[in-house]
Symmetry: none
Subunit: 147 residues, 2 copies
DNA sequence: GGTGCAGTGGGGAAATGTGGGGATTTTTAG
DNA sequence: CTAAAAATCCCCACATTTCCCCACTGCACC
């Protein structure tokens, strides 16, 4: 059951944001309300449910740590990763560092996207700009990626 | 069992539209009244029964999400996707975003087309205009595609 | 004329998203 | 070391939205 759809929820004054119910329900129940937040590859916050995160860790475990690139990559990925449990209302709290990275402000709306194995929390303006700057259109991407 | 035929049903004040019985009956019973709505490539709403949609997801699952193009593609594809179960009257509800995209208004008729593995919900005027603007006639299209 | 299914409309109940209060813990300053 | 300040956690309460059920109409086929 992959994550899909989008929502615009507000980040409250305490930096909390509600995970939309449709995405919460798509999480594996065994991950039991636990997620890992980290920096996205783009200027966004990635949210992985615990079970999906563990698969990423498994991939990192495969890396050859005698290679400099591999060491740097796992450093960057793990450095910003943070485990959280959802509160009784299904919210996570964003840290200042993650909010600054993704240009997300308290008391404003943020865009939440489902992207298959993880969620993404975006500043809406940043997202739209990023999508416009991207090399290809949706249609040409489809051809490139799916052949 | 492919979808075929057309119908004109009204979108009620709550954004709900009835899936014609002949199309509902053409769905795989294992998909159990669940469909996924999303943006079409043209200005229309696509409706996939769950089993057909899962084949699309299976293809996305193959992608390497550490590649930028792949992330962007699945972002765009999944962003507008909404899973829905038909209500006891066989209706789905369209979101504001999808209605805006396809120029579909509440309390008006909309055109529902069966197109093999999915349904399409159109604003009738938009549909007719789109068909006129398309390069070829029905006849020449047949030659190009099936030739 | 009756029966059954298909499409349309509306109303009540439950769930979702949001805001805030207060207690506990952590940090900072004196 | 102590006390004040700040941050964090956890719970409760509200309002809006969404969902789900029930009822009505009309057409079609008996």
């Amino acid at each position: 059951m992959a994550f899909k759809g989008q929502a615009e929820n507000t980040v409250d004054s305490k930096g909390r944001i509600a995970i939309p119910a449709k995405m919460r329900n798509a999480m594996n129940p065994e991950a039991k309300q636990t997620v890992v937040l980290t920096r996205g590859f783009e200027k966004t916050v990635f949210v992985y449910p615990l079970d999906e995160w563990q698969e990423i860790e498994a991939q990192i475990a495969q890396l050859n740590r005698f290679q400099k690139d591999a060491r740097n990559f796992s450093r960057q990925l793990l450095r910003w990763a943070e485990e959280q449990t959802l509160d009784s209302q299904g919210r996570v709290s964003l840290t200042k560092e993650l909010m600054a990275f993704a240009s997300i402000n308290t008391s404003e709306k943020a865009l939440i996207l489902g992207n298959f194995d993880h969620l993404e929390i975006w500043n809406k303006d940043v997202f739209e700009q990023a999508m416009n700057e991207e090399s290809g259109s949706y249609e040409s991407l489809a051809e490139t990626v799916m052949g």
